[in-house]
């Protein structure tokens, strides 16, 4: 039985499998992956290049349908094998936030507008969207740079704006793909601390794909991906919580 949306995990993935090619050219990118991220939890997804992390992430982001397996987000079944059970784009708009290795801010929009557009896309009225976007930028301590174009922002500021954009529609799930890879260690640390803050204060499930060993302590749990299979890392399961 699926729990009510408010109590349901941010995401549940069950026996997810992704196969590319057929016959001799068949490559199994994900092998029966099963994972769960609760709301308010920050989970790290680690693994070497080619292990299937990004494939798993794109499957969970509903942009790369799996070959088989079930994806449930906020208690709602969204993918059953390759079959989408919802309008994927509309579902992403309302329920999933994305943060990437590069901030990927739209260069012709200011920091404020980059956040505002995510809200307006979700049918928030422009005035209300603007107000909420400013609040988010203030929350992430980049409010004073709200009217700057991305070019005028530092790498750390850009990533904060990207996080603000991901938070804009109050998503239940935030997927982050190596968000600290292009930042120095201090900035990377700040950004990861922000994710932890977001997970706990805004009650979102945050799944972060990372290579960065310096920030592992911020995760509530760490999942290792190897050859498309997931296993829970024991040592972090007992890691002392710093918050």
């Amino acid at each position: 039985m699926i729990a009510p949306a408010t109590q349901a995990p941010a995401i549940e993935v069950t026996n997810l499998r992704k196969v590319y090619g057929r016959g001799h050219t068949e490559v199994v990118a994900i092998r029966d992956a099963t994972l769960q991220v609760a709301r308010g939890e920050i989970v790290g997804l680690l693994g070497p290049s080619g292990s299937g992390k990004s494939t798993l992430l794109t499957a969970m982001a509903l942009i790369n349908p799996p070959t088989s397996g079930l994806i449930v987000i906020s208690g709602q079944s969204v993918m059953d094998g390759p079959r989408a059970m919802v309008d994927a784009r509309a579902f992403r708009r309302q329920n999933i936030g994305f943060v990437f290795q590069k901030p990927n801010l739209i260069p012709f929009l200011t920091a404020l507008e980059n956040v505002q557009i995510a809200l307006e896309i979700n049918d928030t009225a422009p005035r209300e969207a603007r107000k909420h976007a400013l609040e988010l930028l203030d929350y992430l301590v980049v409010g004073p740079r709200a009217h700057n174009l991305p070019d005028a922002l530092s790498g750390g500021e850009q990533q904060r704006v990207a996080i603000a954009r991901a938070l804009a529609n109050d998503p239940s799930l935030i997927l982050a793909d190596e968000p600290t890879a292009s930042l120095d260690s201090a900035l990377g640390r700040q950004v990861m601390e922000l994710f932890r803050k977001v997970a706990h204060e805004r009650h979102a499930g945050v799944l972060v794909v990372t290579h960065d060993p310096r920030t592992l302590d911020v995760f509530d749990r760490i999942l290792d991906v190897e050859d498309g299979a997931i296993r829970v890392r024991d040592k972090t399961a007992t890691k002392p919580r710093n918050f």
Binding site: R89, N104, F108
Partner: protein, 404 residues
Amino acid sequence: MNLAYRDVRHNAGRFTFTTLGVGLLLMIVMGMGGIYRGLIYEATLLVDRVGADLWVVQGNTRGPFAEISRIPANLEDRVLAVPGVERARQFVSHTIQREHRGQPLRMVVQGLAWPDDKGEWVPIVAGRPLRQAHYEMIADQSLRLPLGEKIQLGKDVYEVVGQTRGLVGTSGDGLAFFTVSDAMAIQFDVPGEAVRLERAARRARVEAIDLGRLQPLLLDRAVGLASGIPAFAKPQVSAVLVSLQPGADESTVRATLANWPDITVYSTQEQKDLLLAGMVDKARRQLGLFRALLIVISTIIIALIIYTLTLDKIRDIALLKLIGARNTVIGGLILQQALLMGACGFGLAWWIGLYLFPYFPRLVLIEKADLVSLGLIVVVISTLASLLGIWKALRVEPNTVLAA
């Protein structure tokens, strides 16, 4: 939030230069239409201004604007005798090219039926109508002959006493009004040597016949003025213009004249139609095809520009898709940019044309209806041009952002 406007604002320089190029292209499209309108206006200007109800021309010809028309000058008196005719005027019109102050000078020599017609109907902007039967002329300003200027045409010198503005013939050459006799003198002017040779030939022909040998006085007449020989007809005119009495029935007068086998009668509208069908039609088709070609080229160029602009922001579009933007948002961004480019280009074309077209050698006439239709064409081609970009944008996978 208007993404198209913000993208344009961010890339203002590139957008400006691109739009300038599109604008110049559209200006040529606009100019082509204007040249066509100008052709029609100039071609029909004289027919409209001369104010005749009927045109009497040589039998079985289409009149002086289509081919050579020669009718006797005294046909004017025959026409005047027809009931319902108030006025008949000789129409003499021919184009000459002379040298004046070291420059070639082309003009349409137009005869006024002196003394009935002194050119009062001519829209004179400076000076006055003709006041004497010879050696005066009214010249259009395009001929660059100022008031008081004297110019030798044939054996005589003519003084510019009046000026018009924008009165040109079907080929765009300025009109110059003279009395009919002066116009004929200019038309039939031949060098003195040719006159002497003609008179000698005449004498030789008379000497060769019995009458010449029996009547020696005839030999003296043969070497005299041609106008003094009754057997020679007076120089012919191109047409006779007929004005009807108020209330006269045009069809009745026309039917009467149509019974004369040596002439053909046309209404003013028929003369205009013949003029347009003959002289302007090929130019119209040529300009029309050229214009259509330019519109197609403009569409392709705008499409390629919009496509390139779309490619430049393909990652942004992928990101918008990833965060859930609807296709209408993405398509709208591209369509609005194409329309903005088209609209700005159209405005620029109009603005540049406003200052540039008056310097063209032929009249470029931009009418409101043409502006509106070109505006609609620009909307259509901008929309069509955006389709390629929209097609590309809608095919972009959201995970393009992740892959980068």
